[in-house]
């Protein structure tokens, strides 16, 4: 894992991220004529979750097109970031009180991504400095989580590490410094696993071309992950038609119990 250790990182992030992003949008990414262009694509624009869904492997690939048709002398790197829909969460921390483990402390995060994967051709710390990585929100240490209700940077740091660690072990946050393969300096591809428990919604896949410690091209694609068929129907009914759904569940349960009783009684 690429690890950025820096003091003041926590404090800085709360306002630097959005501000720099805004500046960036105004300036554009160094619209230099000599800079290469990215042509990205993904293996599937939509991922359908149905009864047999156990996760999916997503392939992100594309080409780096250099303006004068020749390859650059120095090495360029690719970073791919896939980010799922963000949601507000409360993260709770357990502590041992009176012999039992109970939730003792919590912090709210207004925009925790439900899924975040970063894949690169080499460790991000080797290609970008901390500040640049933070500006582009690249890396698990640079998620913009919008925390609230914390008392110290220490506490916030502990909670952020706890969240990332938890989600990494669920396969929902991924950082892989070897997942991008670049062929002959111009074709790249990255393979990323989407686990079964991903939240549904609109995902963005951003590809960054990095050279000499700078991001020289950015391109993004959208991926929709959605439930389909009966699973969509059931999830929708459970959420939006609670009473009908409940009545149906009761009907099903009573019906099955009754059917089994009469079936077995006859024998």
């Amino acid at each position: 894992m690429t690890k950025f250790v820096g003091t003041g990182r926590q404090a800085m992030r709360h306002w630097v991220g959005p501000l720099c992003l805004a500046l960036l949008m105004l300036a554009g990414v160094r619209a230099d004529a000599r800079n290469p262009v990215l042509v990205p694509d993904v293996s599937s624009r939509t991922i359908d979750i149905k009864y047999s869904f156990t996760g999916e492997t997503l392939l992100l690939f594309g080409a780096i097109i250099y303006p004068d048709g020749r390859l650059a002398d120095d090495r360029a790197d690719i970073v791919v970031v896939i980010q799922g829909p963000t949601e507000p969460i409360i993260l709770r921390e357990k502590r041992r009180i009176g012999g039992i483990w109970v939730n003792a402390d919590n912090i709210r995060f207004a925009s925790a991504p439900g899924y975040y994967a970063v894949a690169s051709s080499r460790p991000i710390a080797d290609m970008l400095n901390e500040r640049t990585a933070a500006v582009y929100e690249i890396g698990l240490d640079n998620l913009s989580l919008s925390p609230a209700g914390f008392t110290s940077d220490d506490q916030l740091g502990r909670f952020e590490r706890g969240l990332v660690d938890l989600k990494r072990r669920l396969g929902l946050y991924v950082a892989d410094a070897n997942a991008v393969e670049i062929t002959q300096g111009s074709l790249y591809r990255a393979r990323l696993n989407i686990p079964a428990r991903v939240p549904v919604g609109r995902y963005t896949a951003e590809t960054f071309l990095v050279r000499n410690g700078e991001v020289i091209a950015v391109a993004s694609r959208q991926i929709d992950i959605r439930k389909t068929g009966t699973d969509r129907f059931i999830a929708n009914a459970a959420q939006n038609h609670g009473l009908l759904y409940g009545l149906f569940a009761v009907f099903l349960s009573v019906g099955m119990g009754w059917a089994a009783a009469t079936l077995f009684a006859r024998r």
Binding site: L163, D165, A196, R197, L247, L252, A260, A261
Partner: protein, 304 residues
């Protein structure tokens, strides 16, 4: 074979859930309990969110209690009058439980409370059952006649005002007592996903002093209607009933229950109670261990 659960938002191994349902069904058929006290913890241990586990287990208990209840109804083993009071209490309890659930969830203590309640309930009931079955087994072994306890209700019950006659139960007591009992069991159904039979049966026998011939049937009647109400309340408030999960549990459960009922006819009831007591105590121990051991996850996420 993996199957995706649309409400729990995760995929589970279909055979594991079926086996779990069958195992619980087997127990419910053998011992006449709904089995919710086993389903919910086992589902939680397999990684299903606690709310979804409790809600879906309640749905399954409805199905598991249907056949037993019908059999008792036909034989006249249900005191409908008493049952109605218990169900009314159950409804009040479920609604109170729904509020308690929401409040505990908002302060982040729902998991701890669920685990503590399990530990407390299962620990005490399991302990009592263990003692009782061992004494009975000893008496049977020594060849002496088991002492039959004189049936009477708890002194507190007689203090309550407004007495009603419950003919089938052979009681003349205040309806407030069964109403409170029903409410307690309704709250447990909402919070823990248990039918509450393992609490209600001893309470009806020893606190209300009901006639033994209507206790199990009336308890099943109350469980049946209270779990229906709980499923509906969960569907409307927490949206946590996973119908696919409940269905899988039911398929295993109804088959297991029939096999269990057949097995039970050939076994010694005191020995059956001993086995059940040990199972109940094991679940309680596991729950207690979960509270005192350092948990796998220090951090937990709650969506807002």
């Amino acid at each position: 074979m993996e199957l995706y659960l649309p409400v729990a938002n995760m995929s589970v191994h279909i055979l594991w859930i079926l086996a779990l349902g069958t195992m619980v069904g087997l127990l419910s058929g053998m011992f006449g309990v709904g089995g919710g006290f086993l389903t919910t913890p086992l589902l939680i241990f397999s990684g299903i969110p606690p709310t979804v586990a409790a809600a879906s287990a309640a749905t399954q208990v409805t199905g598991a209690s249907v056949s037993g209840m019908m059999a008792y109804l036909r034989r006249g083993g249900v005191d409908l009058h008493m049952g109605a009071v218990l169900v009314a209490g159950g409804l009040i309890g479920s609604i109170l439980g729904a509020f308690a659930f929401r409040w505990l969830e908002s302060i982040g203590q729902i998991d701890t409370v669920i685990a503590l309640l399990y530990l407390l309930l299962l620990g005490s009931i399991g302990g009592l059952m263990l003692k009782e079955s061992l004494t009975t087994l000893n008496i049977l072994r020594s060849g002496a006649q088991p002492v039959t306890r004189k049936r009477r209700h708890h002194p507190l019950v007689t203090m309550l005002p407004l007495r009603w006659r419950f003919y089938r139960s052979g009681l003349y007591i205040s309806p407030i007592a069964p109403l409170i009992l029903g409410a307690i069991s309704g709250m447990m159904t909402m919070l823990l996903g248990v039918g509450g039979g393992f609490i209600m049966v001893p309470a009806m026998l020893y606190i209300l002093g009901m006639g033994a011939e209507v206790v199990v049937g009336t308890s099943l009647f109350q469980i049946f209607l209270t779990t229906i109400a709980t499923t509906l309340i969960h569907s409307v408030t927490t949206h946590a009933v996973d119908i696919v999960l409940a269905l899988l549990l039911l398929i295993g459960g109804v088959i297991g229950a029939q096999i269990g009922a057949r097995l039970a006819m050939r076994a010694n009831p005191a020995r059956l109670r001993l086995i059940l007591a040990i199972i109940v105590l094991l679940v309680a121990l596991r729950m207690g261990a979960g509270l005192t051991w350092r948990p796998d996850e220090i951090f937990t996420v709650q969506a807002l």
